[in-house]
């Protein structure tokens, strides 16, 4: 993973992060590394699929990359600039290039705002547009994600999950960012809507040259959209591969665990036995 840092859209170098467990009654304070020595990079216009079972640290890494949580150690470089060493001004500028779409589309929006206000918020934060200009921009964004400009006055409860996720995506692309962190962005949707959102993400990427960090535990969805795949287990990247063929051959237990427990595509391929029962039963509380 050597190379000129500026080449990469995003480079994460040896990031280590810890959540301090508060010292509570009768419980010793313990510190587990949520992330330990994580390094990865995303080239411009590509998508990295970040896989792992729950509690592996995927979402924490996403938050660190977005600048929401300063890591204990290590660097996050956005096009060669260290995100956590920038002046507040410069950080504000760089933050518009980083956007996020979360899994739960309902809790990601203010229920009392209209679609226009939701999508317009980043625009009014960063751009100085007139009211008409902003309205037109929001209309265009809505059409971009497959909704119509007439949906502008609707509130979140009037949309289905799939539609609302489109609004979240419209908000994420409003400022023409460079990197979008998709944290389980399709996991809560049903299959038809999930497939539609994946297709939309693919189209937007081609249209705007976006880079994605696609965080998921669904290998199939990750394979559909990603150029490279990484697997996290207990705060470490245990597999990192540009080639999906090689990835599928990986022998690391965490990768095999994910691959072996993939649900069947057809009833004839269903699992006869539980893979690695012993390691599964030991999973601890979060």
């Amino acid at each position: 993973m050597t190379g000129i840092a500026a080449e990469y859209m995003l480079e994460v170098r040896e990031v280590t992060h810890t959540y301090a467990a508060s010292r509570r009654w009768r419980r010793p304070a313990k510190q587990d590394n949520v992330l330990s020595g994580v390094s990865l990079h995303i080239e411009e216009g590509t998508c990295l699929g970040l896989l792992g079972s729950s509690g592996a640290g995927k979402s924490t890494l996403g938050r660190v990359i977005l600048g929401l949580e300063p890591p204990r150690a290590g660097q996050v470089l956005i096009q060669g600039q260290d995100l956590y060493k920038l002046s507040p001004q410069a950080r504000r500028t760089i933050r518009r290039d980083l956007q996020v779409v979360f899994q739960d589309c309902y809790s990601a929006v203010n229920p009392r705002m209209t679609a226009e206000q939701i999508i317009g918020e980043p625009l009014s934060n960063y751009e100085s547009l007139s009211v008409q200009e902003q309205k037109r921009a929001v209309g265009e964004l809505l059409e971009c994600v497959g909704l119509s400009a007439e949906d502008m006055q609707k509130q979140p409860y009037q949309f289905s999950g799939g539609q609302l996720q489109r609004i979240n995506i419209a908000r994420a692309i409003a400022l023409k960012p460079k990197l979008i962190v998709l944290d389980e962005a399709v996991s809560s949707l049903d299959m038809i809507n999930g497939a539609k959102i994946l297709r939309l993400l693919g189209e937007l990427r081609a249209a705007f040259g976006l880079s994605y960090l696609f965080i998921t535990h669904d290998i199939k969805a990750a394979c559909m959209i990603s150029d490279a795949l990484a697997v996290m287990d207990q705060g470490k990247i245990v597999e990192y591969n540009d080639s999906k063929e090689q990835f599928l051959q990986s022998s690391h237990p965490a990768v095999r665990g994910l691959l072996d427990s993939m649900l069947a595509e057809h009833p004839r391929n269903r699992h006869r036995e539980l893979p690695g029962l012993s390691d599964l039963s030991g999973d601890s509380a979060q």
Partner: protein, 274 residues
Amino acid sequence: MEQAEYVLQVKDLKVSVETAAGYLTLIEDVNLELKPGRVLGLVGGSGSGKTVTSLALLQMLDRQTSVIEGSIRLHTRELNGLPEKDMRRLRGSSLALIMQNPMTAFSPVYTIGVQFVESIRTHVKLGKKEARACAIRSLADVNLPDPAALLGKYPYELSGGMLQRVMLALTLCLKPSVIIADEPTTALDVTNQLQVLRQLDRMRQEHGTAILLISHDLGVIAELADEVAVMQHGRIVETADVFELFDHPRHEYTRELLAARPLLQLSPQLGGQL
């Protein structure tokens, strides 16, 4: 009581709710048949009426505002219109529900053990110690480590996958003849998903439990179901054997669902056109 061929037989189920603009029909013409030891998959997109169906079967919809028509027969007993008092006795012991989100299914202020023992003793005449022993046995049965210690823990101390297995263990304890599993694995990650599905499989093999498996994920259906009913806009549009459905889908909506399945493909087909 004569042994009916079907454990649960649903005929012409129709559910409507009262709204400001009159009655709105949510599901209509729903016919389902569950045999002992068999798994019927109920699949459909969000908003197609899957959960309304499961709640109607359990008579858990608000009786003031909703109207359930048609017949729901558990063995030979008609459930539709049964008083709440009798229904409460049946829920859990004969007709159990496993919900999507195990986090909200338990009370956060009591330990697993208290809730477990209470549920058992509501339905079965057992002393506290016996109920506790039963709980430990069935927790061990779903491969949870150290069941005795687990009973002293609170729900928030367990991961989602573990809680869902606790829920399965509780269901197992009461040996219901029908389990309605409403998206039992949606909130779990892949490794736990398979784990829960295999547990359900064991339950039907060992106890002959009939399972109504509700899911939007055809992978889950492919793993466990014997027959599949496809639901769209509150109606069942196709019922078929699981192999038949995957190989020769008849209804257009079924084909659409099958086409939307993510398949493991090596070349990125989305956005790869860069």
